[in-house]
């Protein structure tokens, strides 16, 4: 009986959460492409997150593909002074809506992919705690972008 009750409440709660989530998502015109597990963890209930377990440069390529599908870049792909290939994590904001291919977005992402290759890859050299720090920095950069986006 107790099991039944808790299960009942859980289902109700989940339903509300999903409804709330859809409502919140509907009010936003952006999605986040990321390889940062912290971003996934913090936003999966409330935001449209595309999480991929891939490298920094592959995230840039994933974003480029979507730009070519008509999405617009909303945050800078090289945000942060922690260099590409130094940090393994990158989260980028893209428009939810699709339209004509945005040339400015194409140029920014192509330049970012090119810039990425100038840095020696060392994202796999760190102790575990350092990855937490990298995740936090990437989250903080994304958070500052979302704060601007959520004003609208």
């Amino acid at each position: 009986m107790i099991v039944f009750k808790s299960s009942f409440f859980y289902d109700k709660h989940t339903e509300v959460t999903v409804r709330e989530k859809r409502k919140q998502m509907g009010s936003r015109d952006y999605m986040v492409i990321t390889n940062n597990p912290l971003v996934l963890d913090r936003l999966k209930e409330t935001h449209h997150i595309v999480y991929r377990d891939i490298s920094y440069e592959e995230i840039l390529r994933e974003v480029r593909d979507r730009i070519h599908e008509g999405h617009t870049l909303l945050s800078h792909p090289l945000s942060g002074s922690v260099k590409p290939n130094e940090t393994p994590y990158k989260s980028i904001m893209l428009s939810e809506r699709k339209g004509e291919i945005d040339e400015g977005s194409v140029q920014l992402i192509e330049n970012a992919i090119q810039a990425c290759r100038k840095f020696i890859f060392k994202s796999d050299l760190y102790e575990e705690s350092v990855y937490d720090d990298f995740q936090l920095i990437d989250w903080s950069l994304l958070e500052s972008g979302m704060a601007s986006a959520d004003v609208w």
Partner: protein
């Protein structure tokens, strides 16, 4: 606005029972500065050390570098909105302890960067090898979050710098320089035939460890605005920026911004230095558009003939730099931009992540990817634990003989984009 800057030259720093400045020697009571640093309960312990030019000492990981100052006359106090109460600064009389700096160090995050070598080839690239440095390494309480730690160290550095600056309040400066700006109307009447030129300073403002504060306000939340160029000399702009050691602006650079100082040198001679415009470098592209539109609009409204634009950081700010340059030029205002380069270890890659034909007058702080060998030094203040993890280092960084093979970007201030660095084509 008229600001008299009194320079008090510090020839030596020594630990002593009592803090004072006598005959150009700064005596520091360790007990007193420790108490000042530990006012914040988030700091568990702090150790102080002195590093002098020419000594075999490496300081790392460096967070900020600060020049002690004291406001002797006029409105407000040093670091308004941060340490002193909010009040407009930049007029009256201020004393600065020249030839020395407070250097804060500490492991905020696991890849914290910034090296100051007091001797050897590394010393040739960092301007802070030439200052007498009082180094404070702050340890936080357990389980502190990085942003709380960063803030605690940032404020501890300012408090100690202000404490040391106060020691000079009753002294007579060795040298006095006067900086005077006009109002818009006065400038037009006084220098009718000189070109009207302003300084556009871009401030790093992206998020944790990438922040700058203007009168205590997080720069990512400002829209571009104008200041009197003397305001920065009283600490109106401070650094909360820990990453990109080579091209970030430590607080010391904001206080001594060479663009501001050099423009004052030319003020009334070759041009009319109209004002200091500040803008930010946010991650959200609409913010970039708003800020660059606004900056260009201010340049137009002020009827400027030219501006000098300085950048802070790499990558994302390259876009702000080019947007500012392009839009200001489109208003008919000439630009000279100051940046640095990430052109690869061989110098053959494209230097910036963005470009435009309007950017036809560019000053560079140097190639941050340039490789340098730093020999082993006798003493390390801070820790070398992270030296293979910092930007511009790699797994080959720590070599068998104890020397470090790194890129210039690890050295604090090596390719600074206000020109506060040692690299030159001369």
């Amino acid at each position: 606005m008229r600001l008299e800057m009194g320079h008090i030259y510090i020839k030596d720093i020594q630990f002593a029972a009592e803090s004072k400045i006598e005959d150009g020697i700064l005596y520091v009571s360790e007990e007193a500065v420790r108490a000042v640093a530990l006012e914040d309960e988030k700091i568990k312990s702090v150790s102080f050390d002195i590093a002098k030019p020419g000594e075999s000492v490496r300081i790392t990981p460096v967070k900020d570098v600060i020049e002690p100052r004291v406001k002797v006359e006029g409105r407000g106090g040093i670091f308004p909105g941060v340490i002193a109460k909010v009040d407009t600064v930049g007029e009256g009389k201020t004393y600065a302890l020249k030839g020395m700096a407070v250097v804060t160090a500490g492991k905020i995050v696991g890849f914290q960067e910034g090296i100051i070598d007091m001797t050897g080839p590394g010393a040739d690239y960092t301007p802070f090898s030439k200052t007498l440095n009082l180094v404070m390494v702050c340890e936080p309480v357990d389980d502190i979050k990085p942003h709380d730690y960063e803030k605690a160290v940032r404020f501890a550095g300012f408090r100690v710098a202000v404490y040391l600056g106060e020691l000079a309040r009753e002294l007579t400066p060795d040298e006095t320089k006067v900086y005077e700006t006009c109002t818009i109307k006065e400038g037009m009447e006084k220098y009718p035939n000189l070109p009207r030129v302003a300084y556009v300073q871009m401030l790093q403002s992206q998020g944790l460890l990438h922040d700058t504060y203007v009168y205590g306000v997080d720069a990512k939340k400002i829209v571009p605005t104008i200041m009197s160029p003397t305001e920065v000399m009283d600490g109106a702009i401070v650094s909360g920026n820990c990453v990109s050691a080579c091209d970030k602006n430590p607080t010391y650079v904001h206080l001594n911004n060479p663009v501001v100082h050099d423009m004052f040198e030319q003020h009334g001679k070759t041009f009319n230095f109209v004002c200091h415009i500040i803008t930010n470098e946010n991650v959200y592209l609409a913010d970039k558009q708003r800020s660059s539109d606004w900056t260009a609009k201010l340049c137009k409204m002020l009827d400027l003939d030219g501006v000098i634009v300085s950048q802070e950081g790499f990558g994302n700010p390259d876009t702000d730099l080019i947007m500012n340059c392009k839009k200001i030029e489109a208003e008919g205002v000439k630009t000279v931009i100051i940046t640095d380069e990430y052109a690869g270890r061989d110098g053959k890659s494209q230097s910036l992540a963005d470009s435009d034909p309007a950017a036809d007058a560019v000053v560079t702080g140097g190639n941050a990817n340039q490789v340098i060998i730093l020999p082993k030094l006798d003493k390390v203040i801070g820790t070398l634990d992270y030296v293979t993890k910092i930007a511009g280092a790699s797994e080959e960084t720590l070599r068998e003989d104890g020397s470090l093979e790194v890129e210039l970007q690890v050295l604090t201030g090596a390719t600074n984009e206000t020109g506060f660095n040692k690299l030159s084509a001369r």
